[in-house]
Symmetry: C3
Subunit: 470 residues, 3 copies
């Protein structure tokens, strides 16, 4: 084969044929940046322009011709023109025949047009092989080389060879091509750069709702109640004391919500006696944004940690501690050391720290570059085993924090329990249910279901059929 | 060449021949998920099944045929069947001849069978080109698109073209192929998904042993000793005080152990007078898990930092500080400001903070995506120069913490020194040895050895021979 | 096409022709490691050596021949020899004709020779297709598989096919090829491994200068002034108190400097009335190292946070708090609770924590693997919207910290204001200017300019020409 290599292409080795020529229609910012980058990577570049003489600021080394002249120079034409101006292409149908036509356009709004720009282009120029690509890359990034955001280029198209051609170009430019299939995917690819954290939306709204509810609840108990009953001004609590109740509560609930859908799914599978039925859509969506839920929870936990650590440097705390000391001296009261108080105080702090430590570990392993270096067994170990351990530690931290006061009628105000008592409902539910699910008899059934076994007879043949399959 | 492109394959451009067909044997979870993903990425998919009529839940758009019919539709056959059921393939030897046969199977245990599944398959179907691939990818990840764990697909096989074929498919699916060589590598590839953090095992056991030893040591000195001598109940120290001695000690020793093998290797090279002899296996293994050792050390350092920062909010500490104030008032003693105490207290804290800061920097640069953006000179600068600076700062932090009490006979209990004194042995050894090694005369010899020079005559010819080489 | 596949190359399928042979000239560390890795990945390897009999330590399975014999075995020759010893290649010109000759050499200094090693090689062996590659990979990394630093292999060369050949080899070895264009890029590629954080240099020097200035300023006000006026020894403040003023000040100024160049660029565009003129070089460079500036600022902010959190465990602080309590008891003064002090203290702490939290978020999203998963809209949202919010919170934190003392003549010492007052100049300037720039009338003009509109007539035609382009 090596022989063949040197024998077959001796002529193509001469320097005149070395470079591939790429044609770029349009001389806007993106067109120029792309041309510049392509020249850097060893391509010849020909710009097609409505007005070749007037085009300025083009990278040196590139030719500028009229659209139809430029298109004849290359069999790959990259279209860096807004969809609204595609009209002129109908005149070039003949020239563009059998060429690879790359659509890089984006819209201003999600689903702005009935069909994607690339599909519209394929209708306009039926003879060309339309490929969608490059729409996620910014002109500035191409030119400066500072690829801070994504290097990923989504590519789709109906013609396999045309697509491969574009994929090769993408790779040569040092970007990462991701084949998304046929031109039907163009719509999704065009919507992608317009998205703003779609997977974070549910976690964000959920945490906002939880945060607001518990904030109001704490304001009621800790600011309004003392004001009405004792005319005491506690508004300064709004800055640190109350946030430092809301944050840990929100974090704990969100963390529990990460593990809730898994428990629900298991119950559903047990109830249905098969895994071969789709989960409801809300459960699917919930399961897909567990990572984001967990990271938002970690954010709140982080805030809780720092808000807790600054306690001793707060004016109010120093004033109160001083007053306790003075009162003790004035009253000449004894101040015996309470070993049980020391135990309670130290152990709830210690549980919290260990929980936070594991939580940070979970966060780090969810970084794309870290999770990419572990295998599935390791990933599941961290996210499931360590995750449940984190939930247990954080729930225990809250329970021990309550300590003796927990559910004591003295801590009720207007019949309302402390906020942390409410916070424990979901985590305890999740932990108790999970505990039941891992009891041997139930776990065995669940494992069988997950391996393809079905309770109902009528499905079982297909299951038997697939039992030897992975 | 561009001309050739459009001329040679005009017929393949028609839409009917656009799509490549892939055959998948087996209709289990993984087979269906892979088929679904392949359809998405523009392939035609044909499933081969024992019982084509009974197969359910297959992705729409895919055909289901008998094994032998399906195999005839494509020259790539992906086998998603457990090894135990490979038997039927012997009947298909003729059909599978010259085809690319992809083995995706995994086992339940490491080294379960004498030979790898892929090699076993190659023996069963001698005419086919067996390629191992896809075994590290999970069905759920393929289907949901949530590629949280690895996108890496290890590929190996004896036939270069067959392997290239599979590599291209892997890439088209948006995964990252990693060529691992011939089919001999299949064993390692099949063991990979069964591993659970193999490189972390040594650091984990080491830190567990160190932690347990120092925990027992501290319990002896700080809980049992006061109990026996003064009948004082200090068990509450188990929650925070003692962990906050064990964590920094373990962190410091582990950090020193990161730099210890480098020092040993240098001494060994100096002693042997050549670099052309292998290090003992334990030293090699130790050197390969330095990163993990360092990260475990960072974990302990992180815990130490938080356990230290919560000191002022502990019940015990507040109680003790209050008592000191009260005692001072009662005794009407003067409380002169000691500048040297302030210096000692502030500088050990400051050294610790700076050490921790550099330690966190080291941790961040060891993230795969960060270390991937630096060159070797930068990586060595961070991991070696900054690493040693971290070790120096942390050792100094411990030394200054000891301060006046260091090695004082008063701090002996039952003849046992404080735990931090023991902790300093290894770090100081490493630092002193390193200091000796970087002295000009020794450093010069070491540098020459590392550039290929050899002390003994008999080896020196081969060294001379290689001196011009990189 | 699949038919063609099996029909055309039936002979190449026999096992004897399966493996491609690669020739490596030179048997030094790197040559051996590369050969070892290539054997692992399924290549045949032939070493070319000056003295084939004397070569030791070569990976088993590789052949060693004389240079000219070895070169005849393969059409890819990898040269792992130092540039100084390239002389012998002139005798091999005939053998190397039409071969792919890969230069992996590095120099000891940046721009050591007038032309790059690869260009020098191309002159020496004019018939060969010289490709530069592999120079950023270390021998140790190849052998141990611990690819801690970069897996990126920069490739450049004048011949497209030769380059493609090398790119394929790089990919087979599990490394990431990055095409850098023609051999002209070799100089840059050879300088790359010699660089030491070039983009971090400006941020580093800037922060060092700022840090030193504010350190001296604080020493003057807080150590020298009390010593001269009150003979008070405050040198212990050098360890924590003064660093904890210098760090937040430096962090705040550096953060403001991240957003300063964007504001300057906007003013420049408004003044010029066009975006089609290059920014001055200093502004370009400043804009390109904004990320590094921000990360250095985050480092200082992190130090500030920990230095602040340790305040209550410092000897000096405990001594002072005790004295305040004692003085209060002795004087029998009332100690009324000041709600406004509580508000001020809590809100500046709270603002600081929130600012730091957002700052950490910004830092995390600037990790390559994280920023790679967001699209440009999301990246801009985080880095611009959240970034400005961070700057606002941190500036507010500093303003509220000043509180009542702010600009009070009592806090002047030798006419010098507190350091934090100086620190506010640049952040406030940036925020006020930005506030003016986002006022509707100005923002509208700026948006039009950034869309290609130009104020001056003479340029406007080319703008019109490009208006339809992306």
């Amino acid at each position: 084969m090596e022989k063949t290599y040197t024998n077959t292409f001796p002529l193509t080795m001469t320097s005149s044929e070395k470079q591939e020529t790429i044609c770029i229609f349009g001389t806007g910012d993106f067109g120029r940046s792309l041309g510049y980058k392509m020249l850097q990577c060893g391509y010849s570049v020909v710009f097609g322009s409505r007005n070749p003489q007037m085009s300025s600021l083009l990278p040196s080394g590139a030719e500028v011709l009229s659209y139809s002249e430029a298109a004849q120079k290359s069999d790959v034409v990259i279209l860096t023109i807004h969809r609204e101006h595609y009209g002129f292409l109908t005149e070039l149908t003949e020239v563009l025949k059998e060429k690879v036509l790359v659509d890089v356009s984006n819209n201003l709004k999600i689903n702005q047009y009935p069909e994607s720009n690339a599909e519209y282009l394929a209708q306009l120029v039926p003879g060309a092989h339309v490929v969608k690509a490059f729409n996620t890359i910014s002109a500035w990034a191409l030119q400066s080389g500072a690829m801070d955001a994504s290097r990923q280029v989504f590519v789709c198209g109906n013609d396999g060879k045309a697509k491969q051609r574009v994929v090769d170009i993408v790779r040569t430019l040092g970007l990462t091509p991701l084949d998304q299939g046929s031109l039907l995917a163009a719509n999704e690819i065009e919507n992608y750069p317009l998205q703003l954290f779609p997977m974070w939306r549910l976690p964000f709204y959920l945490s906002a709702a939880l945060g607001l509810f518990f904030f109001s609840y704490c304001v009621l108990r800790d600011v309004i109640y003392p004001y009405i009953n004792e005319k005491q001004d506690s508004t300064f609590r709004l800055a640190i004391s109350i946030p430092n109740r809301v944050f840990p509560i929100t974090a704990l609930i969100l963390l529990a919500l990460v593990y809730f859908p898994g428990v629900i799914a298991a119950i559903l599978q047990l109830y249905r006696g098969t895994k071969y039925r789709r989960f409801p859509a809300w459960l699917d969506h919930w399961m897909l944004c567990r990572k984001q839920l967990g990271l938002v929870a970690l954010g709140f936990a982080f805030l809780h940690v720092i808000y807790t650590l600054v306690i001793p440097i707060r004016y109010y705390v120093r004033w109160r501690l001083r007053n306790i000391t003075i009162a003790q001296i004035m009253d000449k009261k004894e101040n015996p050391f309470s070993a049980s108080s020391a135990w309670l105080s130290d152990s709830y702090v210690s549980l919290g720290i260990l929980g936070f430590f594991l939580f940070v570990l979970l966060g780090i392993t969810s970084l794309p570059s870290v999770s990419n270096t572990v295998n599935w067994r390791e990933f599941r170990f961290v996210q499931s085993k360590l995750g449940y351990l984190t939930l247990i530690l954080c729930t225990a931290h809250t329970l021990v924090y309550g300590g003796k006061r927990f559910l004591s009628p003295l801590s009720l105000r207007w019949g309302l329990p402390s906020a942390y008592v409410l916070a424990l409902v979901i985590p305890c539910t999740v932990l108790v249910t999970k505990f039941i699910l891992i009891m041997p008899c139930i776990d065995k059934t669940l494992t069988r279901i997950r391996q393809g076994w079905e309770r109902n007879y009528k499905y079982s043949k297909s299951a038997l059929n697939g039992r030897s399959d992975i």
